[in-house]
C-alpha cells in the first residue's frame, strides 16, 4: 500500500462534521479492499468487517458455537470528520462565518478557501493590508465573528450563489517535507483512517480469531455522535480508538507533546482500560516497535470517551499519532508513524484470545 498516496487522497476528500458523505465513500472503498463486508449505519458511520478465523465462512445465525460462546469482536474506531467553516450570513456580498469544531482563528486571515455554494467558489479570508493597520490592531487576534470571506463577486451575484449554512473548506493540497513528513489539512483524523487501512491490509496476511469491526465515525469534532451510536450498535468486546496527538514542535515542547517519527503513543488514564495498555505494549514489544505512554488525566478528547461507557461499558484503548500544528491547514505527520500504528494494531489483534478477554475483569 502506498501510505502517503492514501493520506494525500483522504486529506483532499471533503468531510466536515455532519457532512461526511464524500469521505465516507472514500473510506468504504479503501477499507473495503481488506474487508469481508462494508456497510453504513443510520447516522452515517462507515463500517468495514473482517471476520475472525473462528467465524470465517460460517453462517453466524446458524453457528452452533454461538449458543455457548460469545462471538468475540474488537472495534477500531477512527473519526472521519474534520473541522470546518459554515456560512453564517452574506452581507454586501461578503460572507460571515461560523466554525464547526475547534477552528483556530489565528490561521484564517490570508487563508484561501472554497465556498461550497450553489457551485464551488474560490474565496479568501480577508485581511487588512499592513499599510492601513493601526498599531493597536496588530496585537489583537481577529475573532472568528469579525472575519469576512471574499469570493470576489458583486454583491447580488454572491448572494444568489451563497446561502446561510453552505460549507466552506480550506484550500490546501498536501506538501511533502523532508524525512518522510507530510503537511496538510484534516490529518486529524485521516492519518488514523490511513493507519487502520494499513492494519486491515496486515491482517489479510495473518490469522486472527476475533472479528474486526473498523468504524469510521461521524461528528467527533462536534459531539461524539458517531462513537456513541456505533459502540451501542456493534457491542464490541473491546475497542481501540485511533486519533492524533500533539507532536513536539518549535515553541511547543510541553509535557503533553511527543516527538514525531518515533511511533504512536499508547494512552493511559481513567479513559483507558489498563489491560488494553498492557496488551498494546506487549504487542509493540513483539514487533520491537518504539512507542511512548501518553498520560491523560481525564477526558481523552477522543471517541474513546463515549465508547468506554456505551451499554455496560466497553474496555477501551487509545492509540495516538503525533502531528504538529493540530487544527491548522499545515498539520504535519511522519508517514512512518502511520505504518507503525497500523502494524501495532494488527499485532495486537493477532494476539487476541479468550484468555485476554477473561483478563479484562479485575477479579
Amino acid at each position: 500500500m502506498d501510505t502517503a498516496a492514501l493520506l494525500k487522497q483522504l486529506s483532499q476528500t471533503p468531510g466536515i462534521s455532519g457532512h461526511e458523505a464524500e469521505i465516507r465513500s472514500a473510506v468504504l472503498r479503501e477499507w473495503g479492499r481488506w474487508a469481508d463486508e462494508t456497510r453504513v449505519d443510520k447516522v452515517g458511520n462507515a463500517l468495514a468487517v473482517r471476520r475472525g478465523m473462528d467465524y470465517r465462512g460460517t453462517d453466524r445465525a446458524a453457528d452452533p458455537r454461538r449458543t455457548d460462546r460469545r462471538h468475540r469482536s474488537i472495534m477500531l474506531a477512527t473519526h472521519m470528520d474534520e473541522i470546518g467553516l459554515m456560512v453564517a450570513g452574506v452581507k454586501h456580498g461578503f460572507i460571515h462565518l461560523v466554525a464547526l469544531g475547534g477552528v483556530d482563528a489565528r490561521i484564517l486571515p490570508g487563508q484561501e478557501v472554497i465556498v461550497h455554494g450553489r457551485r464551488d467558489l474560490p474565496g479568501l479570508v480577508a485581511s487588512t493590508p499592513p499599510h492601513l493597520l493601526k498599531a493597536a490592531e496588530r496585537h489583537k487576534v481577529v475573532p472568528l465573528d469579525q472575519l469576512w470571506i471574499d469570493v470576489g463577486l458583486p454583491a447580488r451575484q454572491a448572494e444568489q450563489l451563497v446561502r446561510v449554512g453552505d460549507l466552506i473548506s480550506l484550500r490546501r493540497s498536501v506538501i511533502e517535507l523532508k524525512n518522510g513528513l507530510l503537511a496538510g489539512k484534516a490529518f486529524d483524523n485521516r492519518a488514523s483512517i490511513t493507519a487502520v487501512a494499513v492494519c486491515l491490509e496486515q491482517l489479510q496476511q495473518t490469522q486472527h480469531h476475533w472479528d474486526v469491526l473498523a468504524v469510521a465515525t461521524v461528528q467527533e469534532e462536534t459531539s461524539f455522535l458517531g462513537a456513541t451510536s456505533s459502540a451501542f450498535a456493534l457491542q464490541p468486546d473491546v475497542a481501540i480508538v485511533i486519533d492524533v496527538t500533539f507532536a513536539t514542535q518549535h515553541n511547543a515542547t510541553d509535557v503533553e507533546t511527543f516527538v514525531l517519527d518515533k511511533g504512536p503513543t499508547i494512552n493511559v488514564g481513567p479513559n483507558i482500560h489498563p489491560k488494553m495498555v498492557q496488551g498494546l505494549r506487549a504487542a509493540a514489544k513483539r514487533l520491537e516497535l518504539d512507542t511512548r505512554l501518553e498520560p491523560l488525566t481525564g477526558h481523552s478528547g477522543t471517541d474513546g470517551w463515549a465508547i468506554q461507557v456505551a451499554r455496560e461499558g466497553i474496555p477501551t484503548g487509545i492509540v495516538a499519532i503525533p502531528i504538529r500544528s493540530m487544527h491548522t491547514p499545515v498539520e504535519t505527520v511522519a508517514i512512518a508513524d502511520l505504518e507503525r500504528t497500523g502494524r501495532l494494531l494488527a499485532e495486537f489483534i493477532r494476539g487476541l484470545d479468550e484468555e485476554f478477554y477473561q483478563s479484562l475483569i479485575d477479579r
Binding site: P109, P130, P154
Partner: protein, 347 residues
C-alpha cells in the same frame, strides 16, 4: 502570451526585494521582441526603451516594481526548523498555518503553530520571532545543509482566476508589471517610452531612484497596486485610503509623503473622461509608490502614480479584477500617448 498568462507566471514566480532574478528573466523574455533597447543595471533594474513613432516629443518613464514582500532565513533551530524575518511590510497575524517555498530550490515548508488546545489563557498574536518554518529537517545540521542564511522564502500560493477575478501572491506589483509589459507590446507611441521594471520598492523605493537618474525622463508614471479596503464598513471604521474593485485604475493625488504632479493628474483624468475609460481617485494618505523615489531624481521629475485596486496586499493571496488591469493598461497607454510638453509646462 496573453495578459492573464503573463500575470499568472509573474504572480507565481518568487522575487523578494534584492532577489528578483526569476521575475527579471520572465520580464525580459516577454518584452525583448517589443523594445528597441534593453539592459539590466547594477541594481538589477530592467531598463527598456521603446522609441517613439516619428520624432519623440517627450521621454516618459513608466515604472513597475519587480519585487514582492516575503521572508529571509536567519538560521536554524536545534529542532531543524528555520528562523525567519520579514522583508518588507508583513502583518504577523497572517503567518500561522501558511505554506512557503524556501530558497532557489523552492523547498516546501510550512509555518506551523502551537495548537490551540495547548494554549494557556487568552489566544494572542504569534509574533514572527516566535514562529518558525518547518521544512521537515530533523535537526539544525540537516537544515543548514539544505538552506543557507540569507536565502529568501515566498508564500506558496498558486494564482487562480474565476469570473474575471484573479487571486495570487505578489499582485503588488506583478499586476503593474503585467500592465507595463502590455503597454510595451502595444503600438508605438508619439512619446519615447522608458520602461523601468525596478527592484527593491518594498524596502525603500531603491531601484526606482537609480532608474530615474539613469533615464532622466521628462515625466514619469509609477504603476503599482493600491489597497482596496472596500469591505462592508463597520461602525468604528474610519475613511482609510481606499479604492474599490471594478471601478478602474486609481489615480493618486498624493501618497503619504509625495504629491503627484497636478498637471499629470488633470491630464490622466481628462484622457479617461474623453475616452470613457473608468478611473477612480485614490484617497490621500497611507502607503506610497515608487513615485517617491522618482520625483526627487536629478533636478526633479513630474510624476503620477496609477494603481490597480487590490484587496489584501502583502498577504499570501491578494485579489484583483482583471478588467481593472485592462483599464489600467488603457488609461496609461492613452494618457502617455497624448502627453505634450505644454501639459507639463509650469506657468
Amino acid at each position: 502570451m496573453s495578459l492573464i498568462t503573463n500575470l499568472r507566471n509573474l504572480s507565481n514566480a518568487p522575487g523578494i526585494s534584492g532577489d528578483e532574478s526569476a521575475v527579471r528573466r520572465m520580464v525580459i523574455d516577454s518584452i525583448k521582441d517589443h523594445v528597441d533597447e534593453l539592459r539590466v543595471d547594477t541594481m538589477g533594474n530592467v531598463l527598456a526603451v521603446k522609441h517613439a513613432q516619428g520624432k519623440a516629443r517627450l521621454r516618459v518613464m513608466l515604472d513597475a516594481h519587480l519585487d514582492e514582500i516575503g521572508f529571509m532565513i536567519f538560521g536554524a533551530n536545534d529542532d531543524g526548523s528555520l528562523k525567519f524575518r520579514a522583508v518588507g511590510g508583513v502583518d504577523d497575524r497572517i503567518l500561522p498555518g501558511k505554506a512557503v517555498l524556501v530558497g532557489p530550490d523552492r523547498l516546501p515548508g510550512v509555518i506551523g503553530v502551537k495548537p490551540i488546545h495547548l494554549l494557556k489563557g487568552e489566544m494572542s498574536v504569534m509574533k514572527i520571532e516566535d514562529l518558525a518554518i518547518d521544512i521537515g529537517a530533523a535537526n539544525d545540521s540537516e537544515a543548514n545543509n539544505l538552506v543557507t542564511i540569507g536565502q529568501t522564502a515566498v508564500f506558496a500560493t498558486e494564482f487562480r482566476t474565476w469570473n474575471g477575478i484573479a487571486s495570487g501572491k505578489a499582485l503588488d506589483d506583478r499586476a503593474g508589471c503585467a500592465v507595463l509589459i502590455e503597454v510595451l507590446r502595444g503600438p508605438r507611441s508619439p512619446v519615447e517610452i522608458l520602461a523601468a521594471f525596478t527592484v527593491q520598492e518594498e524596502v525603500g523605493l531603491r531601484g526606482a531612484q537609480v532608474a530615474a537618474h539613469t533615464f532622466d525622463p521628462d515625466a514619469a508614471v509609477a504603476i503599482d497596486a493600491t489597497p482596496a479596503n472596500d469591505l462592508p464598513p463597520t461602525i468604528d471604521q474610519d475613511v482609510s485610503p481606499n479604492t474599490r474593485l471594478g471601478h478602474g485604475p486609481a489615480i493618486y493625488v498624493m501618497t503619504r509623503h509625495d504629491l503627484s504632479d497636478p498637471h499629470l493628474v488633470q491630464h490622466f483624468m481628462t484622457t479617461g473622461d474623453a475616452l470613457k475609460i473608468p478611473y477612480q481617485m485614490r484617497q490621500p494618505g497611507g502607503g506610497g509608490t515608487n513615485a517617491g523615489g522618482i520625483i526627487p531624481a536629478r533636478s526633479g521629475v513630474p510624476t503620477i502614480s496609477v494603481s490597480v485596486p487590490t484587496r489584501y496586499l502583502h498577504s499570501p493571496a491578494s485579489l484583483i479584477y482583471l478588467k481593472d488591469v485592462r483599464t489600467t493598461v488603457k488609461l496609461v497607454r492613452e494618457s502617455v500617448a497624448r502627453l505634450t510638453p505644454e501639459i507639463l509646462h509650469r506657468r
